[in-house]
């Protein structure tokens, strides 16, 4: 079975499509995780059934390593699945998805190890596990209990596959940059490094050395007031997009190490307030 990066993604798309998921594209703004995509955060609220799956490139400025660390990335890829309400057989379906991409649960000793999830900036939390394959964490499996400070009724289940780690396990390799991105026996084989290493180098340099904090502070303020303005005009999706921008700007400032203790706490609180307002507006305006 082929286990190159893009084939695994295609297979996951196929699998979850068969499960009735809407296959979406990544959100076109910088996100820290697939959870932040409105298709998860906002859609997890309210009573309407919803199933969606998508790849989300996720930026963690603090984890950038200039393309030199075999495991850590400024930008990694998550495969995100959201199922509302949570199906009774969701664990079995999830395991089926692993078999579908060529990971045999028995050979790899799949485990569900307690790991409750919480996002202070989103005001969100849930209970679940990290899923291990032969000791490697490959998925975060969470039953949402609360988003934006609101209870999730009904409960959604979120599956977040860490694609790099998962496929490193599948390909049995040690360095992320050695991952086969496409078919290594095809006419133009490309590794993960070929595709992504330059980005890692440059964005690490950007976030650790060349970020102009004063510009970011300004942008953050702008994003915040734009979000508030949009909320007051009841435009929930554009408002939420500015909340996402604020969140990413916070991550950049945090990675740059320019936030004092109070500023940091304060900023998390500010982003959470934006998220809360967007979620409240969503609850008010989505008629289901």
């Amino acid at each position: 079975m082929k286990t190159d990066f893009q084939t695994v993604i295609l297979k996951l798309q196929e699998f979850w499509s068969q499960q009735g998921c809407v296959i979406l594209q990544p959100y076109d703004a910088e996100l820290g995780a697939g959870t932040f995509h409105p298709a998860t955060t906002l859609k997890a609220l309210g009573a309407q059934p919803w199933r969606a799956a998508y790849v989300q490139p996720s930026r963690r400025p603090a984890d950038g390593r200039y393309g030199e660390n075999p495991n850590r990335l400024y930008r990694h890829h998550q495969y995100q699945v959201i199922l509302k309400p949570s199906p009774e057989d969701v664990q079995d379906v999830y395991l089926e998805s692993l078999r579908y991409i060529g990971l045999n649960p028995t050979l790899h000793d799949i485990r569900f190890v307690e790991d409750d999830w919480e996002s202070p900036t989103l005001g969100a939390s849930g209970l679940g596990w990290e899923v291990w394959a032969a000791g490697q964490e490959i998925t975060q499996f969470t039953y949402f209990q609360q988003v934006g400070g609101f209870p999730c009724e009904p409960v959604s289940v979120e599956l977040t596959y860490g694609l790099e780690r998962l496929i490193m396990s599948l390909q049995d390799i040690e360095n992320v940059y050695d991952l086969a991105w496409n078919d290594p026996k095809g006419p133009s084989p490309m590794s993960y490094g070929d595709v992504a290493q330059q980005m890692e180098r440059e964005f690490s340099a950007f976030s650790f050395e060349h970020v102009d904090a004063s510009i970011l502070f300004r942008h953050l303020e702008d994003a915040e007031s734009m979000c508030a303005h949009l909320v007051s005009n009841k435009l929930v999706l554009p408002a939420y997009e500015y909340c996402l921008k604020a969140s990413h700007l916070f991550n950049l400032l945090d990675a740059r190490g320019v936030l004092s203790v109070t500023e940091r706490t304060n900023m998390i609180g500010r982003v959470r307030t934006l998220a809360h307002q967007c979620c409240r507006l969503w609850m008010e305006t989505s008629h289901d």
């Binding site: 569900f112 307690e114 203790v261």
Partner: protein, 693 residues
């Protein structure tokens, strides 16, 4: 014999919650059966990562018939009241008896309650178990608003092989369960517990937690071959809760990582990966690890071992990188990064804490006559490693990395040691540092934390103690029980308070120094009382007697010695008799004092002593009192109480021969003063009025 089998099959239960859940299920079952009037012979409970199981043997088939009596209103009560009662009990007026009492004639009904079938009752009992069960953390997963630790996926509920009906969380009970998630997932039916346990085994599930634990322990020992697994009960417990079908496997650690410090290798192993480290015959870390899989795999674990080795390699490669990076700058340079680490919103950053620790610990060192330079240096470096990359990745290594980095940059050995030992005792009853710089830094750290939080009125309440202040208190007590730094706690609290730059801190409500000290001292004495009773094992009244003089002697080591000495004194006949004499003296002083509306406390006039026995008592008291005072000052309480004991015959003789209440006023007052003198000598050790006897 009858048998009730109830299994709650769920998604994976967190390992750390399993043993307590097993115990709770048993306890709740005992209570519920009792409440429903169901006797039984035995209750056993079991837990695996996916199931919580209950088996009760020896229940009756039905409960016995009984007659229930219901008393109604008076016979001459209003029609309404009588009709209401009849309706409630469902009986006609003519079937009522009349109950004659002193308060009048009442309607009375006897209703035959036929016994109920156990099966029926078990439906209720099992439902109440699900509803009453409390997990440390639970969740919703369904439109039915019930909670459990993770979603429930099956309810096996049978009594003597018949299904006990139960509906919960959109599930109906049955006689079926499932085995291992991967190895044998097809559901199967059972008739009895024996069959259940056996079939589970056939389906790759070891039901019994202890058995799984033993299998893991033995298996790990076996694969260790020439080496030996490091003892780690906590890890063993945790792993037991992660597998239904334990299969221990052995992996290798790459040789080139073996140069890293021991803890740097074993922490990712144990904490992150739940591997068992091994030691070789020389006690050195061996380049192997034990991992417990949950499956028998067709390739005999090859893929599993390879995968786990790869994960460990990645973790250790990270650790190696941090180890090298962190040492590219001197340890103290990390302090700058502590400015952005919060200690507490109102109490400043960790950098601020370090500055306070430097001041506070040197002050303690000065008092104790300890080398100030070493303590100062240790305090300055105390939190630096918290900003290192290694500790950020592996928080469990706090202090330990500080020590390694300090050693490598050639700090004084005691300074390096203090960086690790400042966190001791790590657990209640754990090791306490011996070296003075370590001890002082550890005390200063706890004092700073406790005083800071008490000053801004954050104190533990009920089950809430988010800053672990109770633990900090117990640690401070353990540290203070050291003769080398026997500080006045109250004074040291004052120093800690003065070290905070309160004017610069954003504190909404600040208690003043006196109030802070008083509250914290009361709090500490509560912990200390617990320590003396439950750890040192001293009787309640001895502890109370000594703590009765704690305000005048706020040194914990000193107080603990007093209690021990008192324990020793009261073990013997002398002590017991001395106490009797003390009580007698106190009583007389109290009664006479009340009678005369004054307290008797004053100089004994030697010339006014008449009887030989009182002269003798006075002579011995005068002789012993300064001696005892001296011994108390030196903390030689055992010797002091031995001295006390020698007073016994003189007191006994005094009470035998001398009458206190004589007509001669001056003689009487003088004798009362003599008794007060005797009492005062005893009070140098403890407040004997709190003693029982």
């Amino acid at each position: 014999m009858t048998e009730w089998l109830f299994e709650i099959l769920s998604e994976e239960i967190p390992s750390r919650m399993q043993p307590a859940a097993q115990a709770q299920l048993k306890e709740l079952t005992e209570k519920a059966l009792q409440k429903h009037g169901l006797p039984y012979e035995s209750i056993r409970t079991f837990v695996t990562p996916r199931r919580l199981t209950l088996v009760v043997q020896g229940l009756p088939l039905k409960t016995p018939d009984r007659v229930e009596e219901k008393k109604g209103p008076k016979v001459d009560a209003s029609q309404e009241a009588i009709e209401g009662f009849l309706k409630m009990v469902g009986v006609e007026r003519k079937n009522c008896e009349i109950l004659e009492t002193s308060k009048g004639h009442f309607l009375n009904v006897k209703i035959n309650q036929p016994g109920r079938r156990t099966e029926e009752l078990l439906s209720q009992v099992s439902l109440s178990l699900l509803e009453k069960f409390r997990w440390p953390k639970s969740m919703y997963w369904d439109t039915e608003k019930v909670t459990w630790v993770r979603p429930i996926r099956g309810l096996l509920n049978i009594f003597n092989g018949n299904v006990v009906p139960l509906s919960y969380a959109n599930l109906k009970s049955s006689n079926k369960t499932q085995g291992h998630r991967f190895l044998a997932p097809t559901p199967f039916a059972v008739q009895s517990f024996d069959e259940y346990q056996k079939k589970l085994r056939d389906h790759y599930v070891i039901l019994d937690w202890q058995e799984r634990r033993q299998l893991i322990q033995d298996g790990i020992r076996k694969i260790a071959e020439n080496s030996k697994p490091c003892d780690d009960e906590t890890l063993l417990d945790e792993v037991t809760g992660l597998v239904e079908w334990p299969v221990p496997l052995k992996g290798r650690v790459d040789e080139h990582f073996m140069n890293l410090p021991l803890e740097v290798i074993t922490t990712p192993m144990r904490v992150h990966q739940r591997y068992f480290p091994f030691k070789d015959a020389q006690g050195q870390l061996a380049p192997y690890f034990g991992v417990v899989a949950n499956v028998d795999s067709s390739d005999h674990g090859k893929t599993i071992v390879r995968g786990n080795e790869r994960v460990l390699r990645a973790r250790l490669a990270d650790a190696q990188f941090f180890w090298e990076q962190d040492q590219k700058q001197p340890l103290e340079h990390f302090n700058i990064a502590l400015k952005t680490r919060l200690f507490h919103q109102s109490l400043g950053s960790l950098f601020d804490k370090v500055e306070r620790l430097v001041k506070l610990s040197t002050r303690i060192a000065e008092k104790g006559g300890v080398n100030k330079k070493l303590v100062e240096r240790a305090a300055l470096l105390s939190k630096a490693d918290l900003a290192s990359q290694m500790v950020n990745e592996f928080p469990e290594l706090q202090g330990i990395m500080g020590r390694y980095y300090a050693e490598n940059q050639k700090e004084n050995i005691e300074v390096a040691q203090a960086l690790e030992e400042q966190y001791w005792p790590k657990v209640s009853g754990g090791r306490v540092p011996e070296s003075l710089p370590s001890l002082i830094l550890a005390m200063a750290d706890r004092l700073d934390t406790l005083v800071g939080f008490f000053a801004i009125d954050i104190t533990p309440t009920g089950s809430k103690d988010p800053f672990a202040l109770r633990r900090a208190g117990l640690s401070l007590i353990a540290l203070a029980l050291n003769p080398q730094v026997d500080l006045s706690m109250v004074e040291a609290m004052g120093w800690a308070y003065e070290t905070y730059p309160w004017k610069e801190l954003p504190v909404p409500q600040l208690k003043n120094k006196e109030e802070t000290r008083a509250d914290l001292w009361t709090f500490l004495l509560e912990r200390f009382k617990f320590y003396l009773r439950d750890v040192q094992g001293s009787p309640y009244d001895h502890v109370d007697a000594v703590l009765g003089v704690a305000h005048a002697n706020p040194r914990l080591f000193d107080l603990s010695l007093r209690v021990q000495a008192l324990d020793q004194l009261m073990d013997g006949e002398d002590g017991q008799n001395l106490l009797v004499a003390y009580k007698r003296a106190s009583n007389i002083l109290k009664i006479e004092g009340e009678k005369d509306k004054r307290t008797y406390q004053g100089q004994v006039k030697e010339e006014a002593l008449t009887a030989a026995e009182e002269k003798e008592l006075f002579k011995n008291l005068s002789l012993k009192s300064p001696e005892i005072e001296n011994l108390v000052k030196k903390g030689a309480f055992v010797k002091a109480v031995q001295d006390l004991a020698t007073l016994r015959p003189f007191v006994d003789q005094f009470f035998d021969k001398v009458i206190v209440n004589t007509d001669e006023k001056n003689v009487r007052i003088n004798r009362l003063h003599l008794l007060a003198y005797f009492r005062g000598v005893l009070h140098q050790i403890a407040d004997f009025s709190k003693m029982e006897g």
